[in-house]
């Protein structure tokens, strides 16, 4: 059949599906939801339901509250289809008149996707105060073929949900019957609504209702002129109806057509049509085909518009995704924890551990001699300790406590600089990320992360860690500097051999107290010598490189291990949820879903660029009015 129309219809169907797909994928970007976009409403409520093969025309009666919309609607319908009340914003749900058999060919929930459709409901249902959007439908035999007629809630009352429903109906309408009055034709809320209609290129018929007849009839043209200037609407026709409550209630209100555009100054005042006309008859005369094509084209243009349509949306997706990508790189590229700023382990325990390790490596007589002197040293040390204690000397300070405190300080500084960076990231303003960052930056979460770090620092067994590192380092230097090691071992053996000899010699020379002097060396070396590796370094300056490797190596490994611990902790507790999210979001920009939407937009534009052939227009018209003609 009319293949061109069909092609557009298929493209739009695919586009709608692709957009939904993309919105699921890009949920992580935290963009405003699809329903907040006007093009999406047009796509879903107008294009998708109305591009089917069996086309139909949607006519909606719209306007402010309590100005007789329902009354106009009932006159159109020819019977009391919609109830009216003297109180404002009574109609809360749209009422709809369908030609007989319409629902056999159309799925109502697809035609009006926003509403849940109720057939032949009681009149009072229209006044019901519910959150659900209802659409009260009834079929009427004298309704023109393929014409759907709707009465809508108001667009200006304090019931803002009414505005939303009216807007949804407007979006699916082809033809609007705008009801205005002398009180409301220049109201800001009303004008705003009709500005949207004008920009969507909807066909507008204006009915000026409740005119004080005949005094005010002369003003009708002026009112309509102001209204049109303010809104940009170009009415297809203008009608006026007198203020006559009785006639309105008995459905005998006369509608007079006003000539539009006005014929000139003189004609303004002159009454254009002396005889009232039948509104429904006027609607039946509508040229369905061209109207349908005009409004669909308008809708399509809107949906495909570079700034306000889908391309704008895909651009937003792409931009946002790029922002996430930048944020991701920012957060992962920089070193979180710089080992340079990490405190070095204290030399004292390191020297003690080195001595211990060296001692463990001793064998044979060297070991026995040193064992013996150590034992003696211990015997001397113990009573000295007791005496020190008795006279109230200050207790020994654990060198690791100072290190623990230094590590605490370093950790806090790093964490606070990290938080500062996260704050900057938060200021960049990705809604999803911002939300997560806000949670991460909350005082409560900061406090618990810091408490956790504090606890882990308190529990850290530095001695064990350093011991293992020293052991590895000694083994490694043993392998790397076998010469040095050999010389040291020999020197150590010589010293061990010389030690008893010296003791005995001194004993002979100076009396019984002398060995104590010798022992003191041992005591001092063990307890106080820990104060600096410098002593050792000074003595062994020739082995600078060896020392460098040993000491630097141990320090570096220790620092790397500790700073690595912080990196892991921060990564796990703070950053990985963020970076995972960031990465997912960064990938949306390259997703197939995005490319698919962009491809379909181009396709739809190409299809639309071709002028609709005359045949196509006629065919649409035929499907709509075929049976009548």
């Amino acid at each position: 059949m009319h293949s061109q129309f069909h092609e557009v219809s298929q493209t739009i169907g695919a586009l709608s599906a692709a957009v939904q797909d993309l919105s699921l994928t890009s949920e992580v970007l935290g963009l405003s939801p699809l329903v907040s976009h006007r093009w999406f409403a047009v796509l879903e409520q107008k294009l998708k339901p109305q591009l089917g093969d069996a086309a139909f025309l949607v006519v909606a009666v719209v306007g402010g509250t309590n100005i007789g919309k329902s009354s106009v609607f009932n006159h159109l319908a020819g019977f009391m289809a919609s109830p009216s009340t003297p109180f404002a914003s009574g109609t809360k749900h749209p009422t709809c008149i369908l030609p007989n058999g319409f629902r056999d060919h159309h799925a109502m929930e697809e035609v009006f996707p926003k509403f849940s459709v109720r057939f032949d409901a009681a009149h009072e249902t229209a006044f019901e105060l519910t959150d659900q959007h209802l659409l009260l439908a009834r079929e009427a035999s004298d309704c023109p073929e393929n014409l759907v007629l709707l009465d809508t809630p108001d667009i200006d009352s304090t019931m803002e949900v009414n505005w939303e429903r009216a807007e949804a109906v407007r979006q699916s309408a082809d033809v609007l019957v705008a009801v205005i009055t002398q009180q409301k034709y220049n109201d800001a809320a009303v004008k705003q609504f009709f500005r949207r209609a004008a920009s969507d290129r909807q066909i507008v018929y204006i009915v000026v209702n409740q005119v004080y007849w005949p005094d005010d009839r002369a003003f009708v043209a002026k009112w309509v002129k102001t209204f049109c200037e303010e809104t940009g609407c170009q009415p297809a026709a203008v009608f006026a109806a007198p203020h006559d409550r009785k006639a309105a209630e008995s459905l005998t209100l006369p509608f007079y057509e006003e000539s539009w555009p006005p014929l000139g100054e003189a004609a303004d005042v002159a009454v254009s049509s002396p005889q009232p006309i039948n509104l429904m008859a006027m609607l039946s005369r509508l040229q369905f085909g061209p109207i349908k094509l005009q409004t669909l084209r308008g809708a399509l243009e809107h949906v495909l518009d570079d700034a306000t349509g889908i391309p704008g949306y895909t651009r937003e997706v792409r931009d946002r995704s790029r922002q996430y990508n930048e944020a991701f790189r920012e957060l992962t590229a920089a070193n979180l924890v710089e080992a340079d700023h990490w405190p070095a382990p204290p030399s004292g325990p390191m020297v003690v551990l080195l001595r211990e390790r060296w001692h463990e490596l001793r064998t044979g007589p060297t070991r026995w001699v040193n064992d013996a002197y150590r034992q003696m040293g211990a015997w001397v040390r113990q009573p000295m300790g007791v005496a020190w204690n008795w006279f109230g000397g200050s207790p020994a300070v654990d060198p690791w406590e100072a290190y623990r405190e230094a590590e605490r300080t370093a950790t806090i500084r790093l964490v606070s600089s990290l938080y500062k960076r996260l704050q900057q990231l938060e200021r960049l303003g990705n809604p999803v990320l911002r939300q997560q960052l806000a949670v991460a930056l909350q005082g409560q979460s900061q406090a618990s992360l810091l408490a956790r770090i504090e606890q882990e620092i308190n529990q850290a067994d530095y001695g064990q860690l350093l011991g293992a590192i020293v052991e590895r380092a000694v083994t490694r230097t043993q392998g790397e500097f076998p010469g040095v090691h050999r010389i040291l071992t020999i020197l150590d053996s010589v010293a061990a051999a010389a030690r008893p000899a010296v003791t005995i010699a001194l004993g002979f020379a100076g009396g019984s107290l002398v060995p104590v002097d010798h022992l003191a060396t041992e005591v001092v070396a063990t307890t106080v010598g820990a104060a600096g590796g410098e002593v050792l370094a000074g003595n062994a300056s020739t082995w600078f490189r060896w020392l460098q490797t040993l000491f630097q190596g141990i320090r570096q490994e220790f620092v790397a291990s500790r700073s690595g611990w912080l990196t892991d902790t921060l990564g796990e507790a703070l950053l990985s949820p963020l970076t995972n999210q960031l990465q997912t979001a960064a990938q949306v920009g390259d997703s197939t879903q995005l490319r698919e939407v962009e491809r379909l937009v181009l396709l739809a534009r190409r299809v639309m660029a071709k002028p609709f052939s005359k045949v196509a227009i006629e065919q649409v018209g035929e499907t709509m009015t075929g049976e009548r003609s």
Partner: protein
């Protein structure tokens, strides 16, 4: 006005003046907390309007029309005046420039009303004797924003209005824009509700009433036909029906004698609404504030705990000082006995040692243990010579550890941000960390000194108890008696009677040696007992210290800020109560001219 009324007036004015002064005080003091600062700005802004209001306390009331375009505001004004002075018309919006209608005898210049923004029309209509009528533009024909829009024109005039005639129609009584606009201004205005177009429209007053806030639902509403009323007046007939009731009520309520009352009532209503808004702002921000308060409190407690922990380790770690003071306390009770002499000997070397320790004493806990008097002397000396070193030395113990301080700073900073405070703790320097000590320290140390003094008293008492004394005195005295007896017997009996030789050095040296050994043994035993007691007491002191309540933490400026926020909130509540009381009093004041004429609405 009779004298009683005049007095009542004067009293009313003074009451309101003092209330305003209170509000002014509250609003003018700055606050660091954004919800409070915003509230204060709101109130201050309102108070500047009040200043202009007070200048025209007794000038005629300004009665303004209010309502959507086309509802017949100008027609109502014309009907009230009985002549067509306000421009009414068919094209919307008709009234762009507001019209001020005043009696020919009314002096307008002194009222301070912005006459340049209105068109002034004079009339001799009787109804204008007590008030001026202002025909306002509508709030609903444009979106505002531009200075030439009707909405903006309306908004500049509304603060001057004392009474609003809220005009509406069947079509417009639920127009969102109008309803929204009146919501913002109804506090501080007397309202009259008038439905026009009675000739053509249905009576919607019952439904309209339901749309109003509860406190306005009992107000009378009028359904009038302004065209009819105008025609009647022109023809010289008396106006009839609802319109007549409206006019009568206006004349009764807005009579000359009611001006002050109405203005005060409006003023109080405004104050209620603004201070209520302040209260809402505070409530909205209070969750962040509460979190911050909780965090500050727990920080204070943690700071105190840390100080106590450090003090405790100091207390138990410096036995020598304890010993010295306990010994002194004990000896004070003991009197002169052989054992006390031995103790004094030991004590003198202990004093020597202690004074050495004292010189090394770097922190206040050590000083507290060493004794307040000594500590103070020592401090005095040291303060003169080595002030700098002294303060640095003191800091070393009780100043917050750097890491913990920085951690708390980070956490509190985020809580501060959440609560909305601008204060950035990251700007606090190291210097500041050092300076936060004194307050906290003073707190702990005063307590600590007393506790230590009492503990030492206890130790001294128990160590000089009867049993303890004799336990140590008997052996030494017995030995001394034995020596004395031995020497005495040798001197008086053995040498004099039996002619034996005097005791030689071979007796005296061991005897003295044994005496010293015994004394040392006894003193050692005594010291041991003393030490056990001391370490027990030190723990007791520490546990007593631990029961202290936190009063100040490491960040006194936050505490000060929270304190001032708290005070502001409390004084706002007081103000609100006072305003409510004044409003209540004004409403229920016995008056010969009732404020609210009891005209019941007549339903058509």
């Amino acid at each position: 006005m009779n004298p009683a009324q005049e007095l009542a007036h004067a009293e009313l004015i003074t009451d309101v003046e003092s209330l305003l002064a209170g509000c002014h005080r509250w609003a003018s003091a700055d606050s660091d907390w954004p919800p409070l600062a915003k509230g204060k700005r709101l109130l201050a802004q309102m108070l500047t309007q009040v200043t202009t209001l007070r200048a025209r306390w007794e000038s005629p009331l300004v009665v303004a029309t209010f309502g959507g375009t086309g509802v017949g505001k100008s027609s109502l004004v014309n009907a009230l005046l009985g002549e067509e002075l306000a421009l009414s018309g068919k094209e919307r919006p008709t009234t762009r420039q507001p019209t001020l209608l005043a009696h020919t005898s009314t002096e307008l210049e002194s009222t301070g009303f912005p006459l340049e923004s209105v068109r002034v029309v004079r009339s001799a209509a009787d109804v204008l004797r007590d008030f001026v009528l202002l025909d306002c533009p509508d709030p609903d024909s444009d979106d505002g924003g531009r200075s030439d829009s009707n909405l903006e024109r309306l908004r500049t005039l509304l603060p001057w209005c004392d009474v609003l005639l809220y005009v509406s129609t069947q079509q417009k009584y639920r127009s969102a824009r109008v309803v929204k606009e009146i919501e913002g201004i109804r506090a501080g205005c007397q309202l009259f509700f008038i439905q026009t177009h009675a000739d053509r429209d249905s009576d919607i007053r019952d439904d309209w009433r339901l749309q109003l806030p509860t406190e306005l639902q009992s107000e009378p509403m009028f359904l009038v036909d302004t065209q009819q009323a105008l025609d009647d007046s022109r023809r010289g007939f008396a106006v009839k029906g609802e319109f007549r009731r409206l006019k009568e009520l206006l004349e009764a309520r807005l009579a000359h004698g009611q001006r002050l009352r109405i203005r005060n009532s409006n003023l109080l209503d405004k104050l209620v609404s603004v201070t209520g808004r302040c209260h809402e702002l505070i409530l909205a921000g209070s969750s962040g504030l509460e979190l911050l308060k909780g965090q500050v409190a727990s920080q204070q407690q943690a700071a105190l705990d840390l100080v106590i922990k450090q003090a405790t380790s100091e207390l138990t770690g410096h036995r020598r000082l304890w010993e010295q003071r306990s010994l002194a306390a004990t000896l004070d009770r003991w009197g002169l006995t052989p054992f006390s002499i031995a103790l004094r000997a030991y004590f003198s070397q202990a004093t020597l040692f202690a004074s050495w320790v004292l010189w090394r004493a770097r922190n206040p806990v050590q000083l507290a243990v060493a004794g307040a008097v000594q500590g103070a002397n020592w401090l005095g000396q040291r303060a003169q010579s080595r002030q700098e070193e002294d303060s640095m030395g003191r800091i070393a113990l009780l100043a917050p550890p750097r890491a913990a301080w920085e951690r708390d700073r980070l956490i509190l900073n985020s809580f501060l941000r959440e609560a909305g405070f601008q204060l950035d703790l990251n700007q606090l320097s190291e210097r500041f960390r050092a300076e936060t000590v004194p307050a906290l320290e003073q707190n702990v140390l005063q307590e600590l000194e007393q506790l230590v003094d009492r503990a030492i008293e206890r130790v001294g008492e128990r160590q000089s108890g009867f049993v303890t004394r004799w336990m140590y005195e008997i052996p030494l005295t017995a030995y001394l008696l034995f020596i004395g007896w031995r020497v005495g017997q040798n001197f008086f009996v053995d040498t004099l009677i039996y002619g034996e030789p005097f005791l030689s050095t071979s007796f005296y040296i061991p005897a003295v040696g044994f005496l010293i050994a015994l004394a040392v043994l006894l003193v050692a035993a005594f010291t041991r007992q003393l030490r056990r007691r001391i370490s027990h007491e030190a723990l007791v002191v520490a546990s007593q210290l631990a029961q202290m309540k936190a009063v100040t933490g490491w960040f006194p400026q936050i505490e000060a800020m929270l304190q001032s926020v708290e005070e502001d909130i409390v004084s706002l509540q007081q103000l609100r109560r006072q305003i409510e009381d004044a409003r209540h009093a004004l409403r229920h004041a016995v008056s010969d001219q009732p404020m609210r004429a009891t005209v019941a609405p007549e339903h058509a």
